[in-house]
Amino acid sequence: MMKRKNITIGLSILAGVLLVISLYGIFVVEPVLPAAQTGFSQKIFYWHLPVAILSFIAFLATLVFSVMYLIKKDLKYDVAAYCSAELGLVFGVVLMVFGMTWDYLAWGVWWTWDPRLTTYLILLLLFGAYFFLRSMVTERSRQATFAAVFGIIAALDVPVSFLSTRLIKNVLHPVVIGAKDSGLEPSMYIWLLLSMFGFTALYIALLLVKIDIENMQDSLRDVKDAIENGGK
């Protein structure tokens, strides 16, 4: 347990250091791009992409943990799935703030029904419903089973959203990495990768902390139940 605490602290420090260095690179080292490349607001990109990828990873982790729960029926997988879904939602909301600010500055509107934006909004709504479903079922193992099944279905929107900009032609949302006529100046990749690693470390650290909190709450509830039942 002591070792795990050290890993969490180490990852948190690593995340902080990497993200601060990436901020230095983004705002001090890299010049402001011309207006045709969305100018100053292009700097959102360096954090927008990693946050988006991490939200996808978090929801996919929920899928994996949910499958594990259904196979093994061990509540620790349900706790992990729940915690990862919560982090996915947090990253998703942050992503929406970044995205909407940027598309207001670059496209001229706060929101538009582009396939990527639409499928991503559906993803967030599905995971909103995931938490609603959890709160509706109190009996612990039934809650876990329902949540696992629904979590798997909800996470199936991750590949749909990811591929929406690639399979549908003539979309508004750009594909920067790995598409024709796209890409970055080599120096920009450094800051992008630094923020990518930084957010990954942050995600793992937050997941470990969140799982610990959930487990503590579970033990606390068990103790409470025992006291209540013992009193009768």
């Binding site: 402001v32 490349q37 399979l167 003539n170 508004l172 890409g183």
Partner: protein
């Protein structure tokens, strides 16, 4: 046959152990069947969406609009590059031409132009296809590039 209390999905049963094992098997089989059905539906959806030469698209190109006279009078979403020096502003109304480097089409738009709107910028206009070569836009969005390059210009 040995019998005992068993917990299955949160409910307690007093059952022979053999019975419990078969119940657990049944619930696992059900899971596999449901998974296969969902994956099958997704595969059909993906197949039907990408079939027919990938005709899934968010906006139409200028050429696609120009070659399809059945679209006249209907609402369309067309994307293209603003041809330099074709922007004419009168009052709140702006008229300009966009191209996909093969064909061109005139777009009229009354409303606030996006801050990034300029010559050679990719735009997507949503509105009514009035007649051949004219789209009356109700909304206008500028498309941002997917390539970022350093240039020795540092201006805000």
């Amino acid at each position: 046959m040995p019998a005992a209390y068993h917990t299955l999905q949160g409910r307690h049963f007093f059952l022979p152990t053999q019975e419990v094992i078969s119940l657990e098997k049944r619930s696992k089989n059900r899971l596999v069947v449901v998974t296969v059905i969902i994956l099958g539906l997704l595969a059909i959806l993906l197949y039907s969406a990408t079939r027919g030469g990938n005709n899934l698209s968010y906006f139409k190109t200028v050429t696609e609009i120009n070659n399809d006279s059945t679209l006249i009078g209907k609402s369309v979403r067309v994307g293209g590059k603003v041809i330099p020096k074709t922007i004419v502003k009168s009052g709140t109304k702006a008229t300009f031409k966009i191209t996909d480097s093969k064909n061109q089409i005139t777009v009229t738009y009354s409303g606030a132009l996006p801050a990034t709107f300029a010559d050679n910028i990719q735009v997507i206009a949503e509105g009514t296809y009035k007649k051949k070569g004219l789209v009356e836009a109700e909304s206008l969005v500028t498309k941002c590039p997917s390539k970022y390059e350093n240039q020795p210009i540092v201006t805000k």
